[in-house]
């Protein structure tokens, strides 16, 4: 149990890497590939942050010590390839920690080979998934830039198409976990997801999942005979009563209504159908 004391300040995080990695949690990694000003492919490993699904957008951070990549990626409209590395590419990830001079490609140093894409920026053949992306926004910090990428297309190795999720997560994505010091040398550690757990589903929540409404959920519970028609109406009436009381903090029965509605919803999420009636208003 967390003791609730926010003792670690942002300044302390800066100086205690162990705590920083705990606070961050492992973060999904990708390889970023762009063409430098000489037209030579440059690659680096970085963290990726998904931002939206429709369209599919992601953000990645490029530190100031990756000057080739910053120059290649900081212009709006720049074409970038984002590739997902696998557990077989740990050596390559270490190689990519070093930016090579302009015109010398990290691709060769890492032993990657390149494939054609429709945007002109090559794909990394050895990575199972490559995204062809376009830079649509840039956020500047003193020590880095964050580029916002829109995915235009994705390629995947055909051998993976029929793999189960368990098979896929045993290969990629890699999550950056921490950097430890071993014998005066830094070692980057990564992880793969393993255990999968299904969240609850109807009747604990709406049939369709999260993005539904309370009214639809109650309707579905009634359709499937978890609630009687009367209970459904009582619940909707209780919700209407709460909606009316919500904006009146001093309303006489506000806390009582809130308590009843909360208890009724808990009964539903815990499937305690017999207890539900105790928390519903008298239908008369």
């Amino acid at each position: 149990m967390n003791n609730g004391v926010f003792t670690t300040t942002a300044t302390a995080l800066n100086s205690q890497r162990e705590l920083l990695f705990t606070a961050m949690g492992p973060q999904p990694m990708c390889l970023l590939l762009a063409l430098d000003s000489s037209g030579t492919p440059t690659v680096m490993a970085c963290l990726l942050t998904p931002l939206s699904w429709y369209p599919y957008t992601m953000a990645v951070t490029i530190p100031n010590d990756r000057q080739k990549m910053q120059a290649a990626a900081s212009q709006l409209g720049s074409q970038i390839v984002m590739a997902l590395p696998t557990r077989d590419q740990l050596h390559q990830i270490s190689v990519l920690d070093v930016e090579l001079p302009m015109g010398i490609s990290e691709v060769n140093a890492a032993g990657f080979t390149l494939g054609a894409s429709e945007t002109g920026v090559p794909l990394i053949n050895e990575c199972p998934v490559n995204f062809e992306c376009r830079v649509y926004d840039v956020l500047e910090y003193p020590e880095s830039i964050v580029i916002f990428l829109e995915v235009l297309a994705g390629t995947i190795d055909d051998t993976l198409l029929y793999k189960t999720r368990e098979d896929i997560i045993a290969r990629y994505p890699l999550n950056a976990v921490d950097v430890i010091v071993d014998n005066a040398c830094e070692v980057r550690r990564v992880s793969l997801l393993a255990e999968l757990t299904l969240c609850p589903t109807f009747p604990t929540g709406p049939k369709g999942g999260w993005y539904s409404t309370f009214e639809a959920w109650m309707g579905e519970l009634c359709e499937e005979s978890y609630l009687t028609q009367e209970q459904k109406h009582q619940l909707l009436a209780l919700k209407a009563e709460w909606d009316a009381a919500f904006s009146k903090p001093h309303a006489a029965r506000r806390s009582e209504i809130k308590e009843s509605l909360t208890a009724a919803i808990i009964c539903i999420t815990e499937h305690r159908w017999h207890d539900l009636a105790r928390h519903l208003p008298d239908s008369t």
């Binding site: 880095s144 829109e150 604990t204 909360t262």
Partner: protein, 302 residues
């Protein structure tokens, strides 16, 4: 092995595969799992606490700054985070909190606390009026630094101002810690009504990328420091180090004819590849011929 290409439209339309029932199979092959969080905010009108589930990513570490993407259909979270400077808490749930994490995302009426529904304990924090969640081993107290409209989502950029870490972490190895949490949103399965059932995961195996001599001792130290590290550890001779530095200087200065520059690039490419992969014999073969070349050119000059 061939690569199959999908445009974004095709990818998002959830392409089907013959013989595979799950229409999300390929879609989620393209969508990396993201760490899950619970966002704790306060309703500006009623003062009531709202908890919602989502995913986050790290943008920078000094100061720790994270990005949240909030769907525009998540009305409560959006309304409670509309002002820059507003405080909020990001709590990272462990794998023992799969049920409460999911329950906190149910469509309950505004003002009804998801924490109450999920039976999560709100813990008051000193210096802030936004509580953390006691059952979550990590709670990040944050301040909204920026808010960007991003198509179907709003992106919140949050600066972490302080952190509460459970003492359950003390004595735990990193392997044990990451196996306990945070959880990750991995994919959706379909229920009997074709609705989505989220599937969460946690990290398993911890893998070490090779350290020095594959790259510098300090990972961000750069190419020339790495060569110096190699020399200090006697993996390359001082003379070899000098030749390497000469090659890099020559490359950086440019000014050669195209054909000479191409030769130099190939040599630098090969040498660095051999060094990164500890192929010392191949490296020495190139160094030796390069040394003779430098020696001969030097001799010509004198």
């Amino acid at each position: 092995m061939a690569k199959v290409r999908y445009t974004t439209e095709e990818m998002l339309a959830r392409p089907s595969l013959p013989g595979i029932f799950d229409p999300t199979q390929i879609y989620f092959h393209f969508r990396p799992a993201r760490p899950a969080n619970l966002l704790v905010t306060r309703d500006p009108q009623s003062g009531e606490i709202n908890v919602s589930a989502g995913t986050y990513g790290v943008l920078r570490t000094k100061p720790l700054t994270i990005a949240l993407h909030i769907a525009k259909k998540s009305y409560d979270s959006l309304r409670n985070t509309k002002d820059i400077g507003t405080a909020c808490v990001i709590a990272l749930p462990g794998k023992d909190l799969v049920h409460p994490t999911w329950v906190s995302a149910l469509p309950v009426p505004r003002g009804i606390s998801e924490a109450d529904i999920a039976k999560l304990t709100l813990m008051q924090a000193s210096g802030s009026d936004i509580p953390g969640i006691a059952e979550c081993p990590v709670n990040l107290q944050c301040r909204i630094e920026d808010r960007r409209d991003n198509f179907s989502h709003v992106v919140l950029i949050l600066e972490v101002t302080s952190v509460s870490i459970s003492n359950s972490f003390s004595g735990k190895s990193r392997s044990e810690a990451i196996a306990a949490g945070p959880t990750y949103e991995v994919d959706d399965q379909l229920n009997a009504w074709s609705g989505s059932v989220e599937r969460l995961g946690v990290n398993g195996e911890l893998l070490a990328c090779p350290g020095f001599p594959v790259g510098p001792k300090i990972r961000s130290a750069g190419l020339r420091q790495w060569l110096l590290d190699l020399q200090h550890e006697k993996l390359i001779e001082p003379a070899e180090y000098d030749i390497l530095i000469d090659m890099l200087d020559e490359w950086d200065q440019g000014g050669h004819r195209w054909s000479e520059r191409k030769k130099l690039r190939i040599a630098v490419d090969q040498v660095l590849h051999h060094l990164f992969w500890s192929q010392w014999d191949e490296f020495r073969t190139i160094m030796s011929s390069r040394g003779k070349l430098v020696h001969r050119e030097g001799g010509d000059e004198t």
